[in-house]
Symmetry: C2
Subunit: 136 residues, 2 copies
DNA sequence: ACTAATAGGCACTTTTAGGTAACTAGCTAT
DNA sequence: ATAGCTAGTTACCTAAAAGTGCCTATTAGT
């Protein structure tokens, strides 16, 4: 959205602009952990989001081909959203970001920080993605 | 900033909020490609950024320990910013995001999209980070 | 006949973020 | 004496984004 007045037209900035904003990552996360999900279910899981923002995010991510929208014309209608191949690719990297974020913002095992960091055996996971994310 | 009214308190959302917003990624990129850089030089390289936003971003990233600030009390003073270990870790992942963004938003080799996607042999780089980013 | 459910759309208001411009300190050079 | 350099800070204004509430279609159930 509003890619016209964009600060930097390079691909990664486009992508970051897509991912930026409240709920977007959380939404992707819900879809990656729960599989294809209907609109109402999404709204229920993402507690606090407004329908307006949820639809905005869904529309945008659909336009970026990160997720797909499946409309079933039953009564009442069923609309299901799920990750596309692009979406799957994305959550792989998001996993790594999450691994990093976990190390940074969670679990300071001994002390917050000291003058020398000789005891920092925390950050040796080598982006191994061994920490399966559980807390979004 | 404004982590209090945060939508989702999980680590990766915190991190995304840090990275979100105009210029932030670009700033990290400049620091990663140019090494430690002074304030004025950053402002010159990131064409179009206001001093206000630049200082905001620098302060925030410094607080997140993604970059450091070195103040040399000469006259006129020299302030140099550079990536910390965290910052280095981050740009590694950013590289992958960039790789992905390049594939998605650059170079559609044959056709934009067709009815069936049997010809989508585009996305097989396996997050190899072989594409060194050049265009931020 | 009327209510309920799903998946939103639309208009209005509020909040937030970014831009702009003016100002600062302390010393140097002209 | 005065202007200029760096690295910002501060106040003010505007534009974009988010929140809120009300509205729709269609049919099944009571």
């Amino acid at each position: 959205m509003s890619r016209s007045r964009h600060s930097c037209p390079c691909p990664v900035s486009i992508l970051m602009e897509v991912l930026s904003g409240p709920w977007t990552m959380y939404l992707l996360w819900v879809l990656s952990t729960n599989g294809p999900t209907r609109f109402g279910e999404l709204k229920r899981r993402i507690e606090g989001i407004s329908t307006k923002v949820l639809t905005e995010r869904l529309r945008m991510l659909e336009q970026e081909e990160i997720l797909y929208r499946h409309y079933e014309p039953t009564v009442p209608p069923q609309v299901t959203y799920g990750l596309t191949d692009r979406g799957q690719e994305l959550v792989v990297i998001l996993d790594q970001l999450n691994d990093l974020a976990q190390r940074w913002y969670l679990s300071p095992p001994v002390e917050p920080l000291a003058a020398d960091d000789s005891a920092s055996q925390i950050g040796n996971s080598e982006t191994g993605m061994d920490v399966v994310v559980a807390s979004l």
